[in-house]
Amino acid sequence: MSRGLQRYILVRIGLTLPMVLILVSLVFIVLRVLPGDPALAILREGASEEALAAFRAAIGIDRPLHIQYFDFITGVLTLDFGESMTRNRPVVEEIKTFFPATVELAIFSMLITATVGIGFGAYAAKNRKSGRDYGIRVSSIILYSIPIFWLGLMFQMIFGAGLGWLPVSGRLDPGNTPAYTITGLYTIDAIIMRDWDLLVDALRHLILPSLTLGLILGAIFIRLTRANMVDVLEEDYITAGRARGLRERTLAYRHGLRNAFIPIVTLLGLQFALLLSGAILTETTFSWPGMGRLIVDRIYDRDFATVQGSIVFFALLVMGFSLIVDIAYGFIDPRIRY
């Protein structure tokens, strides 16, 4: 690793730390400082004074703000998010149970997103300003305008309730549970355990949710890929290649796409927040037991500790991910150096 790269990575880490602090503090401000009483928000109007007071004491919001803040930050730094208020186990354990489902959904969705996005985006860019290009552009706008959960509902209605081809909820058929989990990603666990029935079951359950999320994100990705490819295809080296008699297909896909790839992958990383937003809705639609479901369910269960812990976890996750993307970018592109 060159010294420039080392410095670049250190600078990125140095910049990420204050971002994490700010984001976590924002979470604190929204949950504790802003008008709006968590006790009232969670227990709803009509709760008795005693219940509210007990709730406040339980989550510790009856103490002075600076002490709350100090405890909160300490908790974040030690990755201790407290006890779940409904499940009698640490919030961290809850997250460990639910997070793998989100990861599995995210991975499969991203595969679909990348395939759809790069495929159609590059094709549109290659045939820029043609009818096919405008067709792809308008379709991607319309596809992105479809609410994720509604696309999920339509898939459920057609392929689940209607044709009966695919299951519409959960990660596995009822009654089918893996003997034990290793990674928590059922597809990978099934491969490790050579349990092919489990693999088929897990994959069948993955198809509709990841198609839902993957297609909608793919719509954004078509646009990003197209825009980057259009820029690259206007470069002189593409014209120069054409003057040497290279095929248009070679120019677009070999030379163009390869150069557009770095910015495209970076952009894919930047869509991580969007992926998580989409995952929350997809999980709700498909009863997919991931982080989104965890948060939404616990809001209804009035489990403030778990909700707060999960949100902080998301904050750390996006920051960590963007750091990884930045560092990876530094490795790939030698021109980026501090």
């Binding site: 609410p147 994720i148 959960f149 929350i280």
Partner: protein
């Protein structure tokens, strides 16, 4: 020197600058901008039609969106009733007044509602078979049947005849699980969606633009803190942010608008700050400043004209996104009070009856959300090419 006679000016320019009305000039734009023009106009048309429909909702919508007007789960186009009697034994002539008659109806079907509405005595049956048996067995002389059912029965020559057709009302898009008219809910629901989305985008733009100006002009520590804060909000999943805000603020249209607006503040902030920074450096502002221009004038003369095209485009795209976020929030069950007609809420209700095959409850609200969101996206996309050719490539 070459003299340019008016005749030498190409036709397209003469047409664009000709002294014609606003509408005609817009129509002529299609030659100039080509496909982008069609995209913009398509988006604009969708929005104009839906906005007009929802503003005219009191006139256009057939019913009150919250009234339990029909029978639950009336399929699209259903609801009309036929009065059926045994052949040749009808106590009333076709077209005559029905008051005073006893009519057999099926429980929880539109016929039952109709009898109530016409203030007729009714005999209720559990299902269609019992109803028909009742008529055939002489328990009642008249029954209400769904029109399509009646049509089948009478053509098969089962000893029944149609007395009066097309009674009651037709539910164009059907009714929901509580018998509310879906057409009316969609028409009124557009107000909620547009209201929430537009006010959240307005809020976000006001806050974002002000903070962006502050950050860009002040620089230094304020700029650093604000930028980092905005970046961290931007990197956080928007829907999750909206969920927390909505939970904390409690239900209400305005609260939802505030909750959603937080997501979009950073976009406006970034555009304005970037623009301020680049313009602050640029020579023409330097020149203006050296001539003694006040900050306020620089803002008005140089910053706003440069920022406005981008803001208009981002505004349109953000509304589209806010529509989807708002729908997502109410789909999850957060945000809006239950008495507000709302597409996202209707979808979450429909979700419960999906397996039961009530496809119309989830199909139409989703189509509407897609249409409105696509309208704003298309408008923003087309405008971005027209207003700012540089921006559009990204």
């Amino acid at each position: 020197m070459a003299t340019t006679t008016p005749d030498a000016v190409p036709l397209s320019i003469r047409e664009l600058t000709a002294d014609v009305g606003f509408v005609r000039r817009i129509l002529r734009g299609r030659k100039w901008y080509g496909t982008e023009w069609y995209i913009t106009v398509l988006g604009g048309t969708i929005l104009v039609v839906i906005t007009a429909a929802t503003l005219l909702a009191p006139v256009v919508a057939p019913h009150d969106p919250n009234e339990f007007i029909g029978a639950a789960f009336t399929p699209p186009g259903g609801g009309l009733q036929t009065l059926v009697a045994r052949s040749g034994e009808s106590p009333v002539a076709p077209g005559a007044e029905l008051s005073g008659q006893t009519v057999g109806v099926q429980r929880n079907r539109n016929g039952s509602n109709l009898a109530k509405e016409l203030e007729l005595d009714s005999e209720r049956y559990q299902n269609q078979e019992a109803l028909l048996d009742g008529l055939a067995g002489g328990e009642v002389d008249l029954i209400f049947l769904d029109q399509d059912v009646a049509k089948e029965l009478v053509t098969s020559g089962s000893g029944f005849e149609v007395v009066i057709q097309e009674l009651g009302r037709r539910y164009f898009l059907g009714t929901d699980n509580l018998g509310r008219d879906i057409t009316s809910r969609l028409t009124w629901g557009a107000r909620t969606v547009l209201g929430v989305a537009i006010s959240s985008a307005l809020l976000a733009s006001v806050v974002g633009i002000s903070l962006g100006l502050l950050s860009g002009f002040a620089g230094g520590r304020i700029d650093r803190v604000l930028s980092l804060t905005m970046d961290s909000i931007y990197s956080f999943p928007g829907l999750l942010l909206a969920i927390i805000m909505a939970v904390m603020l409690g239900p209400g249209i305005f609260n939802v608008a505030v909750a959603i607006s937080v997501i979009y503040i950073p976009t406006f902030f970034r555009i304005v700050r970037g623009q301020v920074l680049s313009i602050k450096e640029s020579l023409y502002v330097e020149a203006a400043r050296s001539l003694g221009a006040k900050s306020r004038n620089i803002l008005r003369m140089y910053i706003f004209p440069n920022v406005i095209p981008s803001v208009v485009i981002v505004f349109s795209l953000n509304i589209a996104d806010a529509i989807l976020t708002a729908a997502g929030l109410s789909f999850i069950g957060l945000g809006l009070p239950p008495d507000v007609p709302d597409w996202g809420y209707d979808l979450s209700k429909g979700h419960q009856f999906l397996v039961a095959g009530r496809w119309w409850m989830i199909t139409f609200p989703g189509v509407m959300i897609t249409l409105v969101a696509a309208g704003f996206s298309l408008l923003g996309e087309g405008l971005s090419e027209i207003l700012n050719p540089r921006l559009s490539e990204n």
